[in-house]
């Protein structure tokens, strides 16, 4: 029953050049259980042997990839029906990225409606060719993730919690590391774009670094105003330096709000170094329950949507199965008891006697229905008028039942002959019930020329009388 077992959850973090398997712990901690150079993971055939056991035996809930692996597009779209929206996005993405056939499986969207503007779609999708290769490799190793996201989306979720009016304002975030600085821009609570800037090394003059940062931020603000058609309302800074906020405020010539200390940030600088911006998040923030934006393989998502139905099907099925099995057992026992009881009554002798009795009744009934020639002969004799005598008679009572008669009628003329014949048939029909009427054309008549006595002529009559 492995399908019901809950495995330990883990995440996979991908930076520009490396891939790390990270285990999340209940106490809001995490450990890195293994890592590979990204190219080695993608192209080394032996990599499957190098995966640690703990990674193999876990649920790979989340894959965090660099921000630039994702792209965001907005489309004007009237309908909000899923059956229309999803094929539209699939078609559009495939048309825009012909070289990425799998792009149709990796997107997600939300509906946009800003004020009186036309309704639209906010579509996020994977655009980096490596991302598809990576997913395919993870799937091959049975490590494919349930969800895929980027640090920017996790930041979006965190800022939503920290800043009360995050959804109403245009926000920028500067996240400073020793050599790299990440710039994130959000338009009314939606991530718009991010940039990664490599600043001159720590030994360089801080003024020079600030100048570079100022330049990059200003460039990005310009880009933001083009993309969002709005100006940034607030800029937040997350940095280890004590005076960084003040210095950046002065350089930019506008207020910069200090976001540090983050409170939930992982203090382990080694992890932060290896995982980049992801190292700033807590295990709780990365857990499956946190509601940040992420995309899933379309087929997996469909599967997840079916999961409650499947669970209900399994539970109801199991309940029914146990009820039916119980009923089956009860019926089996009851049937056995019934058979024993009936077996006592069903004595072969009794059955035999009854069968013989039934057969005997059938035979006797058939015998009783069988006509007897004696009775037929007697009835014909009784039907004979005075002037008629029989020469030949054949009575058959087997397959073809009937009487063939050849008789002589003495009559003074045809009229009397007809009268006698009528009387004869009348009596025959009366005395032999069910006999079929004889048609005139079925009667053979013959005048016996030589036989004339007292002025009466002999007529030879031959006919067949059908019997029931």
């Amino acid at each position: 029953m492995g399908i019901f077992r809950k495995k330990k959850a883990g995440i996979t973090v991908v930076t520009d050049k490396a891939l790390h398997f990270v285990e999340l712990h209940r106490q809001d901690g995490w450990t890195i259980s293994g890592g590979f150079a990204l190219d080695q993971f993608l192209y080394d055939n032996e990599v499957s042997n190098l995966i640690p056991g703990v990674v193999r035996d876990r649920d790979n809930t989340l894959l965090i990839v660099p921000d630039y692996w994702f792209a965001i597009n907005s489309y004007k779209f009237q309908s909000k029906r899923r059956s229309i929206v999803e094929p539209f996005i699939e078609r559009t993405l495939q048309a825009e990225h012909v070289e990425l056939p799998d792009i149709k499986y990796f997107f997600d969207y939300t509906f946009l409606q800003k004020g009186r503007e036309e309704p639209g779609l906010y579509v996020c999708f994977m655009q980096e060719p490596k991302s598809f290769q990576l997913y395919s490799q993870l799937a091959k190793l049975r490590l494919n993730p349930d969800r895929i996201t980027t640090p920017a989306f996790i930041w979006e979720q965190r800022l939503r919690r920290i800043i009360a009016d995050f959804r109403e304002v245009e926000t920028g975030l500067v996240h400073q590391f020793s050599t790299e600085t990440f710039l994130y821009f959000f338009s009314r609570g939606c991530f718009l774009f991010s940039r990664c800037i490599t600043l001159p090394g720590s030994q360089t003059d801080s003024t020079e670094r600030l100048r570079s940062l100022n330049y990059e931020v200003n460039q990005s603000l310009h880009l933001f105003s083009q993309k969002a058609r709005a100006e940034i309302d607030r800029i937040y800074l997350l940095s280890d330096g004590e005076d960084d906020v003040q210095q950046l405020s002065n350089t930019l010539g506008r207020e910069v709000i200090d976001l540090s200390p983050p409170g939930t940030a992982n203090p382990d600088s080694e992890i932060a170094r290896r995982l980049g911006p992801v190292g700033s998040f807590s295990a709780n923030e990365l857990s499956d329950s946190d509601n940040f934006f992420a995309i899933s393989h379309r087929l997996l998502r469909k599967g997840r949507e079916w999961k409650p139905i499947q669970t209900a099907g399994i539970v109801v099925g199991l309940i029914l199965l146990s009820l039916m099995a119980g009923e089956c057992f009860f019926l089996f026992k009851f049937s056995q008891f019934q058979e024993q009881k009936t077996g006592i009554i069903t004595e072969p002798k009794l059955r035999q006697t009854l069968r013989e009795y039934n057969e005997a009744l059938d035979v006797l009934l058939s015998e009783a229905r069988h006509p007897y020639p004696r009775e037929t002969i007697v009835q014909i004799a009784r039907s004979l008028p005075d002037n008629v005598w029989i020469r030949e008679m054949l009575v058959e009572v087997e397959t073809v039942r009937g009487v063939e008669l050849k008789g002589v009628i003495k009559a003074s003329g045809p009229d009397q002959f007809r009268d006698i014949l009528q009387v004869f048939f009348g009596k025959l029909y009366r005395n032999i019930p069910g006999s079929r009427a004889v048609q005139m054309e079925d009667i053979d008549l013959e005048v016996i020329e030589s036989e004339v006595e007292n002025g009466r002529q002999d007529y030879l009559v031959t006919f067949r009388l059908g019997m029931p």
């Binding site: 492995g2 399908i3 049975r142 494919n144 349930d146 087929l299 997996l300 599967g303 997840r304 079916w306 999961k307 499947q310 669970t311 099907g313 399994i314 099925g317 199991l318 029914l320 199965l321 039916m324 099995a325 009923e327 089956c328 019926l331 089996f332 009851f334 049937s335 019934q338 058979e339 009881k341 009936t342 009554i345 069903t346 009794l350 006697t353 009854l354 009795y357 057969e359 005997a360 009744l361 035979v363 006797l364 015998e367 069988h370 007897y372 020639p373 004696r374 002969i377 007697v378 004799a381 005598w389 029989i390 020469r391 030949e392 008679m393 054949l394 009575v395 058959e396 009572v397 087997e398």
Partner: protein, 179 residues
């Protein structure tokens, strides 16, 4: 995830197939029990019927037995039949009795016998009546009467079915006691 989904569908299919199978089996069992109950009721009725009507039942069985003559073999049966019919014809004043029959195959339970004789219609009718009453194992199938002129004796040709039950095979007769 995909494998798990497939496994779940597999589990659902197996479970529901089991449910359907058990439902079908249970319906069958219930029908069987109902039939057995009806059968038991019927048997009880039949048992009671046999107990209450044992006399009538044995009478019916006896009557049925009388429709066939138990013979050691067909040839012996036919010989005895011819003898009996000759005696009966003589008793009824019929003359010139001719008995015609070919021995049939073993296993047949009815044999066609043709008889011809001369006599008056009344005598012949009486003879037929006696056969009907006293010789239940003889079934008259066909009677042909030819009368030359009024007052003359008629010529009768009668076809009979002689129904018998061999008590042992004719091909290898075994006699127990005296014939």
């Amino acid at each position: 995830m995909k494998g798990e989904i497939r496994k779940r569908w597999g589990a659902i299919s197996v479970i529901w197939a089991g449910v359907i199978l058990l439902t079908w089996s249970n319906v069958n069992s219930i029908e069987k029990i109902i039939r057995a109950k009806e059968n038991a009721g019927l048997l009880r009725t039949e048992e009671k019927f046999l107990a209450d009507n044992s006399k009538d039942v044995s009478e019916v069985l006896k009557k049925r037995e009388s429709l066939r003559e138990s013979v050691v073999g067909l040839k012996f049966g036919l010989l005895a039949l011819e003898s009996r019919l000759r005696d009966l014809a003589e008793k009824h004043g019929l003359t010139g009795l001719n008995f015609d029959c070919h021995a049939g195959r073993a296993g047949e339970e009815s044999k066609r016998v043709n008889i011809s004789f001369r006599g008056s219609l009344r005598e012949a009718v009486d003879w037929l009546g006696t056969i009907r009453c006293d010789y239940k194992y003889i079934q008259v199938a066909r009677v042909k009467i030819v009368v030359g002129s009024p007052g003359e004796d008629g010529k009768f040709q009668v076809s009979l079915n002689y129904r018998y039950r061999p008590s042992c095979s004719e091909d290898n007769p075994t006699f127990k006691g005296s014939i």
